[in-house]
Subunit: 355 residues, 2 copies
């Protein structure tokens, strides 16, 4: 009876069945639904299993059940960048807590051999959460083709693509409006580097926010073509934020306020400005977007838009599990409230000569 142990082969349900004298069915029940067999049978089977060090193979079980018990999060940027952005980490945390609640695992999916499409094709998950996706993207077809339920965070809401967002346009409008009301006229806008799903991203929250900024700018007779408005783009990391700041400092365009689409980049700017002897907000103001915890304790503390990252993750995950259960979604597009957080990084500029 110890022959197979020596072989070094995996102990399977067959071994337990043969040795215990019961059927595979019985063995399976012993592990999954003991009430369906006699106490004696169960005890015998458990004992044999214990002796042989038997472990039901999770992969075989999942295959048989056709369920992975895991949902995936498609990393929006290279994993290195994603993890440097506390906002994303909070979203992931929200997703993760719901996974834990439902006894699922959270699979972080980086591009497979540079290809997000392949990654989706191979992902061992029951559903997917993506960030910053819009329906026109190739990746969406890929997901649908696999008939994988999914919901997108910070994407462009669209039919049959459940989504969870804040009102980005309005949020952007209100913070830009505040900046302009404080008298700022030379503005550097730092947008988000494109999501890695696709080279040429179509509509995105980036666009929604730009629209919001633009609306405010227009109310002050400015727009993106004004010489006093500069548009930039940065990876969402502290280092890239610092980098942007020193570029700004060494360039010809001298903004009085930096309006960033992410807090982490705004923090980088504050740090770099300070480092180079430029005072924030006396010499230059900085405002952000996200309200990550760090923004409350950086000096000066950051004026920004609060958006509940953890809740975004949690609600997206709840929606996804509803979908996975095959139930109907009460609401396909959810918009969570945001609010402006006024702190110390934005100063007022007195009326004075331009330039």
């Amino acid at each position: 009876m110890n022959d197979e142990l020596k072989k070094g082969k995996r102990v399977t349900i067959n071994d337990i069945a043969r040795i215990s004298g019961y059927s595979k069915t019985a063995v399976s029940f012993a592990f999954n639904d003991p009430s369906r067999i006699s106490v004696k049978a169960c005890a015998t089977i458990q004992r044999v299993a214990e002796e042989l060090g038997y472990y039901p193979d999770p992969l075989a079980r999942k295959f048989s059940l056709q369920r992975h018990e895991s949902i995936g999060f498609l990393l929006p940027q290279h994993i290195h960048f994603s993890f440097q952005n506390p906002y994303i980490m909070q979203v992931v945390e929200g997703i993760g807590s719901v996974c834990q609640k439902y006894g699922n695992t959270l699979t972080l999916i980086p591009p497979l051999n540079e290809s997000v499409l392949d990654a989706v094709r191979c992902a061992a998950v029951d559903g997917l959460i993506t960030q910053g996706m819009s329906v026109e993207m190739e990746i969406v077809d890929s997901i649908k083709k696999r008939k994988l339920p999914f919901v997108t965070i910070d994407g462009i809401p669209s039919v049959d693509m459940p989504s969870i967002n804040i009102d980005d346009k309005d949020a952007a409008y209100s913070i830009m409006r505040m900046v302009l009301e404080r008298g700022h006229k030379r503005i550097a806008i730092i947008g988000l580097a494109e999501v890695s799903y696709e080279k040429h991203a179509p509509a995105s929250i980036q666009r929604a926010r730009l629209e919001g900024y633009l609306r405010a700018l227009k109310e002050f007779d400015l727009d993106f073509s004004s010489p006093s408005v500069g548009l930039y783009t940065s990876e969402t990391t502290l280092d890239e934020g610092k980098h942007m700041a020193s570029m700004l400092l060494s360039g010809r365009f001298k903004p009085t306020c930096v309006v960033s689409m992410s807090d982490i980049v705004a923090l980088g700017c504050i740090l770099q400005f300070t480092e180079q002897g430029i005072s924030v907000p006396e010499d230059i103001s900085v405002v952000g977007f996200d309200n990550i915890v760090e923004s409350s304790y950086i000096l000066p503390s950051l004026t920004t838009i609060d958006q509940p990252a953890g809740e975004k993750g949690r609600r997206a995950a709840e929606m996804l599990f509803t979908l996975i259960r095959g139930e109907h979604l009460p609401q396909t597009h959810i918009t969570i409230p945001h609010r402006i957080i006024e702190r110390d990084s934005l100063s007022s500029i007195e009326e004075q000569n331009e330039n």
Copy 2:
């Protein structure tokens, strides 16, 4: 030929074989190794597959190959806590980048129905990385029973448990020694809350660090039973750090320096002290452990031990993949260098009356 499409059933390799007129073998080759069939066969198969929207089922493929193409990270604390600790996030980032390199996915494994053991049993992974584990733990048996390769970070090195660490005892010694040399005599030590793997954790890095602290204390005629040394424990989150600080402030024991085993808790202390009008480091000093980025820009900046979290994750993952490939590990226990980072949160205390 469209009958099965209407059924809503999944399109399988069988359908493609039947409809294309080739065998399952050929279909499989068309997707995995086209060189083994004729160009014509491949083209036909691809066309049919495309028409029917066929997608090889990843789960079936993994089952057949007996590989998950994913490694797991066993969350040391409740997911909510883990994600609030930038140190852990950096470790995860390191692991993740190696996963990406090898075309693997990273599975975050929370306890399953409160049970880490069940979680390990069910995890769909080829290997496991754990944090803060020692061999005596029940969970280790569970992992071994499943014959899952694993490596542990910040655990207690031991035979047949590959590990990656810094010299915690030495690191703790050197920072405590620095604190004492600065004249501090009333010290509050804040240790790490226990890992969730097990209720009564045996040896741990916590212990190693305590030994280091103790060695330094003894050199100054102090030890843990001295009335001027207080031992506390905290979850590694900013909020718990704040909480500890206000407890300290309202307690009878008035330390002149807080020595924390984690930066995030140290940051929480600094924030709370400042909030309550206590100046750091004038009124009270704080030192940490980890050197997370935030420590460099908090005010005052934090004196701490630098340990390369990302590298820990990366090297642990590299070891794990070596193990998964069935290769021999050149080195079972790796110790990465650490160093002390002196910044502004630790002040000197002049000689004066005690108490």
